[in-house]
């Protein structure tokens, strides 16, 4: 059909056109133990930390932030920053940027068939996607273990499992790991892995930025976790000043960590946004873009534009604690409100960073399991962009009781309630697609339906929170806690696991076990609701967040939540068991298109070749022509019979 397949292939050697990286090229292309990989990154982190700490003490020795504490925040900051740099250097992330200064351009990266590629700095978006999946699962389980600790403490209103200092460190670490790491980068795994395949591209626009985002993000994990060695930080994930200013050295891990994670988020969003704008295959007009790609685009816009404010806020905090400026110190001409404004100006877009990919994943799966086109596609896409835009104008709904701009409360009440309109579009889309469908309850579909159940409760309670008079009652209480767990855990995390079950066969060529999957789903669904629904009532009955003591009469409800939480935790053990079983112990080869999807990503051979598409596809329709007798062809893949014999090889 297209001109493309008529033309003979020129087997151009990509290296010819490029000067290689010189000494760094030798580093980059070397394989084996003596090359750059996760191990050298860790070594780099340790050496960098030591060097930075030493330097900090040289530059600002005897310059302790808290008198006689023996802690030097300059040294701690220097250690963490150089640690991150060392990590990147060790991983090989800096080879290219340095070689570039000598005018060198990299050779096209070759396919690395060894399993060790998963532990290396690589520009292969599918490898980066899988690296991200494992990392995000690690973050999620780290945060989950901390959550188990929180629920253990809350089993009893008065007797304690932890001291108050330990408890607050656990709570803060839980919130930070979950909000900043586990859920803020879901476009990392799925966006990086899927977007190029969905838009018919052979790679992302800036593959090295994509890899950089991953390695920076994981360095952020080390930095955030390093807080535990400094005695933790007491501020929760919100890091309010002046508590931030007052806190011990663990606070540096939080501030530096936010800056580092922020860089990772910006890099990931930047690369994906540009990829979607510029790297679409011919014929892939905006109107034919899979809805998941729309959601990634909206998320990427938020990642790139909202995160700089967080980095700026963290930067000012670092200056306060090292250069001893006074940004957040009221007595010295600063303002504690400044942090609250900067933080929430980022913080609210951040919560939509955690919602939109979930919507996209679910909307992408619905047509497949209902055998119907996506209902109101344009409304869905417009809704996602609308949410992204509006989310910059609502941040003060987190500050209704703070005394900041009290006369603006009606305005922020309005914008917040307005944002629930485009948010609600996902229900129009979902319910419309279910209409007169033929629903197959495969495991991904179960997760998708669960999102609709959970997020409804989360979204509606959001509207309660935005009503200022009601906010007076529930702000800062377990009600808020339940609200955002229903939106984030009930929404995004359910979608995330649904996505894993759905795309796993494509990513690994293996099928997840269905029985274990069902057990996982039902445990997770039931115990999620049993854990978090009581929290609405607990909050209404007067229990503030982040406390270790509560009223005697709330013990029953708290115990229900705690015990359910343990079972919720156990459901993830089932997932891990399934994961390990289905990949390593008893792998079952997946058919190339197990769900019968029309999506472009499923039209590639399994496993997906290094360059995704042997010929750049020409897109001729959107991927939602289900149950249409005369459906147009989705795309011209331009490979003819060649492809069929490759299909046969699957699983060998």
């Amino acid at each position: 059909m297209s001109v493309i397949d008529a033309v003979p292939v020129t087997d151009s050697e990509p290296t010819e056109d490029y000067v290689n990286l010189g000494v760094f090229g030798r580093l980059t292309h070397r394989r084996g133990w003596l090359s750059q990989h996760l191990g050298t990154a860790v070594i780099g982190f340790v050496l960098g930390y030591l060097l930075g700490h030493w330097l900090g003490n040289v530059v600002a020795g005897g310059y302790s932030y808290v008198q006689n504490s023996g802690q030097n925040n300059v040294a701690d900051t220097g250690g963490l920053l150089l640690g991150v740099l060392g990590w990147l250097f060790g991983a090989g992330a800096l080879n290219y940027p340095i070689a570039k200064m000598m005018g060198r351009e990299p050779a096209e990266e070759r396919f690395d068939p060894s399993w060790t590629r998963y532990f290396r700095y690589t520009a292969d978006h599918k490898v980066v996607g899988l690296q991200y999946i494992f990392s995000v699962l690690t973050f999620l389980f780290t945060g989950g273990l901390l959550a188990m600790a929180i629920r253990t403490e809350l089993l009893s209103p008065t007797s304690h499992a932890f001291g108050p200092g330990t408890y607050i460190a656990i709570v803060s670490e839980h919130g930070t790991v979950m909000m900043m790491m586990a859920t803020s980068i879901v476009v990392g795994p799925f966006g990086n892995w899927l977007v190029p395949l969905m838009i018919g591209a052979r790679r992302t626009a800036f593959p090295r930025v994509e890899a950089f985002s991953f390695w920076t993000f994981t360095a952020g994990y080390l930095v955030i976790m390093s807080a535990l060695f400094y005695g933790g930080f007491p501020t929760g994930w919100t890091g309010y000043a002046p508590l931030q200013t007052q806190a011990g050295a663990g606070m540096m891990s939080y501030l530096v960590g936010f800056a580092v994670i922020g860089m990772g988020m910006m890099a990931a969003g930047f690369n994906l946004a540009v990829t979607i704008v510029t790297c679409r295959a011919p014929g892939l007009t905006w109107g034919r873009l899979p809805i998941f790609v729309w959601s990634v685009l909206a998320t990427a816009a938020l990642l790139t534009l909202a995160t700089p404010t967080l980095v700026a806020g963290g930067f000012l905090g670092i200056l306060d604690r090292t250069a001893q400026t006074a940004f957040y110190v009221n007595e010295h001409g600063g303002s504690s409100y400044l942090w609250q404004n900067l933080f929430w100006f980022f913080g609210h877009p951040e919560v939509y960073i955690m919602a939109l990919p979930g919507f996209g994943i679910v909307a992408e799966m619905l047509p497949v399991f209902t055998r119907k086109p996506l209902f109101a596609y344009k409304v869905a896409a417009a809704g996602m962009l609308g949410v992204a835009l509006l989310s910059f104008f609502v941040w003060q709904h987190h500050l209704f009781q703070s005394g900041i701009n009290p006369d603006m409360r009606p305005l922020f009440m309005l914008t917040t309630e307005l944002i629930s309109i485009p948010t609600g579009f996902i229900y129009l889309v979902g319910l419309g697609t279910l209409y007169k469908a033929k629903i197959r309850f495969e495991i991904p579909m179960l997760f998708a339906l669960a999102l609709f159940f959970n997020f409804l409760i989360g979204g509606v309670t959001g509207v309660f929170l935005s009503d200022v008079p009601v906010n007076v009652q529930v702000h800062g209480s377990f009600f808020v806690l339940a609200h955002f767990h229903y939106t984030i855990m009930g929404g995004l995390v359910f979608a995330f696991f649904g996505g894993i079950y759905y795309w796993f066969p494509k990513m690994t060529g293996k099928m997840m076990n269905k029985t274990l999957g069902k057990i996982h789903f039902w445990m997770m669904f039931i115990f999620f609701n049993l854990t978090f629904f009581p929290m609405f009532i607990i909050g209404l009955l007067g229990q503030p967040r982040r406390v270790f003591e509560y009223a005697q009469n709330l013990q029953t409800l708290n115990d229900i939540a705690s015990v359910s939480a343990f079972f919720l935790g156990a459901s993830f053990v089932v997932f891990v068991a399934n994961f390990v079983w289905s990949i390593f112990i008893n792998p079952v080869a997946a058919p190339p298109n197990p769900w019968d999807s029309l999506g472009l990503e499923w039209q590639t051979p399994s496993p997906v070749p290094y360059y995704n598409f042997e010929r750049i596809p020409v897109i001729m329709a959107d991927p939602y022509h289900y149950s249409e007798p005369n459906a147009p062809q989705l795309a011209d893949l331009g490979v003819g019979s060649d492809r069929t014999d490759e299909k046969v090889e699957v699983g060998k």
Binding site: S12, E105, F111, T278, T325
Partner: protein, 219 residues
């Protein structure tokens, strides 16, 4: 690994595909440059917000006691050098577009020099302050801007320097008689896309420099 993966170890492109992907990378430079400016805008706007927020709250009457100011002479010099660098980048690019590769290189290296001087002055200025960082809202904001400015200057330096270095290597790589300004080779085309974005970023940086010069030293 299956045969499929092994077969595609090296990507093979038809000429049309190569052309299409080349267009994509050039567009990526354009879009990426704009998005990068968007990113920096939000960062810098956060600092400007900080400035105005602290100024208007004036906590404890300590926004800017006795109108302390960072050394204005040095400040003006930093601004001047940054502005000159931006101007050179823009003018050089104009010349480049009309074929004056050499002119652009001279302008570029001069801009790099100007940026290095500006950065040196900015760091020097930090050692000459008549106030302590925590003594007022203004003092704090100044420190944040100074550090940001150093970072911004490093970004500009890095981008310009890598382009210049690349152009030198390119000269020998291109067929005789062609220059990066007119060669149709993919590398030259990408180079031009990159340079366009870089110049755009310099213009943005000039606006930021003006804005903060006014905020810190003038008003």
């Amino acid at each position: 690994m299956t045969a499929t993966a092994r077969r595609h170890e090296v990507m093979t492109s038809t000429p049309e595909e190569a052309e299409y992907e080349l267009r994509q990378s050039i567009n990526s430079y354009w879009t990426g440059g704009r998005l990068l400016v968007g990113m920096f805008t939000f960062f810098v706007a956060s600092l400007a917000f900080t400035y105005f927020y602290l100024r208007s709250s004036n906590s404890g009457g300590l926004w800017r006691p006795a109108h302390v100011t960072a050394p204005t002479g040095t400040g003006a010099a930093i601004f001047a050098f940054s502005a000159v660098a931006a101007l050179l980048a823009v003018v050089g690019y104009r010349r480049f577009q009309s074929g004056g590769v050499q002119d652009w290189k001279v302008a570029g290296w001069t801009a790099v020099m100007a940026l290095v001087i500006a950065m040196g002055l900015q760091i020097y200025q930090l050692t000459q302050l008549p106030f302590y960082p925590g003594s007022s809202g203004y003092a704090s904001t100044f420190i944040a801007w100074a550090v940001t400015n150093v970072f911004l200057l490093i970004c500009l330096l890095y981008w310009m320097e890598t382009l210049l270095a690349q152009s030198m290597r390119l000269r020998s790589a291109l067929p005789v008689g062609e220059t990066v300004a007119d060669s149709a080779s993919p590398r030259a085309q990408k180079f031009r896309g990159n340079l366009e974005s870089c110049t755009f970023f310099f213009q943005f940086a000039a606006i930021v420099a003006v804005l903060f010069w006014a905020l810190i030293y003038l008003i």
